[in-house]
Symmetry: C2
Subunit: 513 residues, 2 copies
């Protein structure tokens, strides 16, 4: 993959740098910081030279590194040389334009600048007092985003709600679930009777959160979805589960609805779910980790219709909103419920601002006390591009997915398995038993095996990287466009790569089409 050449380019950045004399000296910082900027810029320039999915074997790095830490300082060029030679071969290039796996990680120049500021200031913004700007900027950008998403006023600070930047959706769901649980327990419910609902497509973080907050695993419901509903959770199926649980003496607590599921980007039926949640007094959370950002475009906003019925809503800005990892945006209608579950008030943190009740102390809206100044990157991303361009970028990714979808649909050996709503296409090679006619019945087992082999063949070669899902028993290959560097030419090449590998395997197994 020409990586020797790429190594040489990267090596030039740090050539001849010595040791750091001081832990933090402004001029040493400046000198090495400049070199690192060049290193990373050169990495982006050469990123398509690397196999997208790392090709190393388990244990490769431990064999390359010493067993104990060095006693004496090492030169920076030596350390960075090891990054080039030992680390880069072991990473999967999530920022590559040829990365279509899981959901791409969504870095950008603007976000990187914000990350640099955040690491540079290195403030620990647990409460307002500890660095007022960290709290206030976060509140401001969360209101900006709420307006961009047309979230109801109840989610804005001015409407009694508010938003917070957490690390990941896992944390956001954990916090809201703890808040819902404590509200129920305060209302007299026993934790052992509380029930949590998602669908069989809901992200595993819901079940994990339920487990962490002490909901018995027997009280977790993954309500079945169906192919004919495009794997959306419906109000009717949720209602059946809830009614059955109530009949058994259990207490419905929390439902997580998803906008853009991980497997197939399905969209749960929010208005129906909201109605059931409301009838049964459940906390409704909307996990729009992947697709939420797209809803700043008016033409996609309908996907979150029903959000007015929810208690909380979250999306991951590090997934598809040009923020580097990590950055999850969470809004709640009732911050007091979060605070009741998560607040602490030790003596050493007491201060006048908190006592005045005029400020937000975000430590009480999340798990951790310490928190990075994440709002800086969100702020730089929004301002550097403006809402108009952010919409344009998101639409561009959707357009790339449509291009790919079009290519798949033009080739009758392939099929798009579920509707494409956003920038991800779930497709597969549609095998037909040799000897049958073209429209014959699909043998699912053979289909899965073949698609699995195609995917592994593509990924092992390394020009592009995709991952898989199984929906309704069907093994699908996921093509998640949306990498910041991906352009139409990359998508068209990706399709040629996929066809090439598929054709080779189809020949091998002697399939007719």
């Amino acid at each position: 993959m020409g990586s020797l050449n790429a190594c040489d380019i990267l090596d030039a950045s740090f050539a001849g740098t010595g040791c750091l004399e001081h832990p933090l000296d402004a001029e040493e910082f400046r000198r090495h910081g400049h070199k690192m900027i060049d290193y990373i810029a050169d990495y982006y320039n050469s990123i398509d030279k690397y196999p997208v999915r790392s090709q190393v074997e388990p244990g490769y790095l431990r064999r390359l590194l010493p067993e104990t830490a060095p006693n004496q300082p090492e030169t920076v060029d030596r350390i960075i040389g090891d990054v080039t030679r030992h680390i880069i071969p072991g990473i999967t290039h999530w920022m590559s334009p040829n990365y279509y796996a899981y959901f791409p990680s969504s870095g950008s120049t603007a976000s990187f600048l914000g990350e640099m500021l955040s690491a540079g200031f290195n403030v620990v913004g647990f409460n307002w007092m500890s660095s007022p700007a960290a709290t206030e900027l976060e509140s401001v950008v969360m209101d900006w985003l709420a307006k961009m998403l047309c979230l109801p006023a109840q989610f804005h600070f001015s409407g009694g709600g508010g938003g917070v930047l957490q690390g990941t959706t896992c944390e956001a769901i954990l916090c809201t679930l703890a808040a819902a649980r404590d509200r129920a327990i305060a209302g007299g419910s026993d934790i052992s009777r509380l029930v949590v609902y998602g669908s069989d497509q809901t992200h595993c973080s819901l079940q994990k959160a339920a487990q962490i907050v002490g909901i018995p695993s027997s009280n977790f419901r993954a309500v079945s979805t169906r192919f004919c509903d495009s794997f959306a959770l419906t109000g009717a199926s949720l209602d059946r589960a809830v009614v059955a649980d109530e009949a058994a003496g259990l207490v419905p607590l929390f439902v997580c609805a998803t906008v853009g599921t991980t497997s197939s980007t399905a969209v749960d039926r929010l208005p129906e779910i909201g109605e059931v949640a409301s009838q049964h007094k459940m906390w409704m959370h909307i996990d729009a980790a992947y697709a939420g950002s797209a809803c700043i475009c008016p033409e996609f906003r309908h996907f979150i219709d029903g959000v007015e019925l929810a208690d909380s809503f979250s999306f991951n800005a590090h997934k598809w909103f040009f923020n580097n990892l990590d950055c999850c945006c969470l809004w709640v209608k009732n911050p007091a419920a979060l605070v009741a579950a998560l607040s602490t008030d030790p003596e050493y943190l007491k201060n006048k601002a908190t006592e005045s009740r005029e400020v937000v102390d975000y430590k009480d809206w999340q798990i951790a006390l310490s928190r990075r100044f994440r709002a800086l990157k969100m702020w730089t991303v929004i301002r550097c591009h403006g809402v108009a361009n952010l919409r344009k970028f998101l639409r561009g990714h959707v357009r790339l997915a449509k291009v790919f979808e079009g290519l798949v649909r033009l080739d009758r050996r392939f099929e798009v398995v579920v509707p494409r709503y956003f920038s991800t296409v779930c497709f597969r090679l549609r095998p037909v038993r040799a000897g049958r006619t073209g429209d014959g019945e699909v043998d699912e087992e053979i289909a899965s095996g073949l698609n699995r082999r195609v995917l592994e063949s593509v990924n092992a070669e390394g020009r592009i990287y995709m991952t898989h899902a199984v929906v309704g028993g069907v093994y699908v290959i996921r093509f998640a466009a949306g990498g910041t560097l991906t352009e139409e030419r990359h998508v068209r090449t990706a399709w040629l790569v996929i066809k090439e590998h598929a054709e080779k395997l189809i020949d091998d197994v002697d399939f007719l089409n």
Copy 2:
């Protein structure tokens, strides 16, 4: 404070930069990245020009910023100009050499370089497969650190245990507590009978974690500590609490011992606590958030004697180990217990490496699925400086605290309230009622009020920043040395500042000494 001048310096960095055309273009990245390096280097050069504690009032920033996001892109120089004029006045300068509040946040050039690499690669290392180097480097550096701390082999990967980098101690305690809880529940215990123990000095994250995992608040014990034990939790007092709970039919689950408490850097008696934990089959966690790093120096290692009895051990590398926020190092003897509580296995993450059981999937060792490549910064910090210099730096901070302690002790108007073990001195102005003799009885209420006013006076002026604690009913001022930029001259100046404010107030209230 001369901040206008500092503003002018910072302004020069980004003068005349236009808008970002692309979300990520290598040459735009390079150009703006270089400017940001200069901006941050200039910030460090001028950091002592700012009031250390931000002087803004609640709501200052919301009034300065627009209510909605800009629709069109803004120039980078304009955005950074706003950072200079609107954000910097609103942050407390945690990286200032004159910062002695809470515990300093511990940034360094080496760590910043690692942060840049981490943000630049932007890999989402949830499991080994998603970026093998992220997992393997983390395992390697955690073994390096375990050896640097002389942790028993059971905490090393080679000894069946292992380490993980989390964000904060809050998360580390939450994960270990969930593991302990699930082990107890699997053993037949009811969650409503499980009891969690700390001391009245334990960090509030323990109580918060207990609340999150569903331990009834009536089952949380903050065992009292005493002045005569220097606020250490002792085995005898823990044992009394445990025996009483067992007699009441409850089940002792988890004890958190602290090495370097937040208020006064007290050190709990680990060997005694370990014995009690062992007798009653409790999970013992050691929270060495602040002081753990110092234990890489042989002369401080004795503070964690008894760690061999613990199930888990953690310290915050962002507190006093030259890692920028956030970075918490957690080791466990039995990773299987963590995995049992925290693992998920969705179809879309299935892969051969996981199935081979030859790899660590860190998503099962923590709350979140997504995780940043934090090991890069720890690796660069350790290698750039080497163990010998890291020890030297830590000793340097302890020496600064000793210098300060000496200055306090030389002035009979002041006293050091609790023993200084590390780089933090808890002291106060020792007032004596007017009219009594010099050795008269201290009036605690007057003493608290006076010290509170001295502290507020110092902090409001902004040349230095300290915070307070209350231990055993005594209001103390905490002088936490250990900022990366702090030198002896800063400490000596800090003492002069403190004396100046104290003398002014002593005059005001007409105290004699």
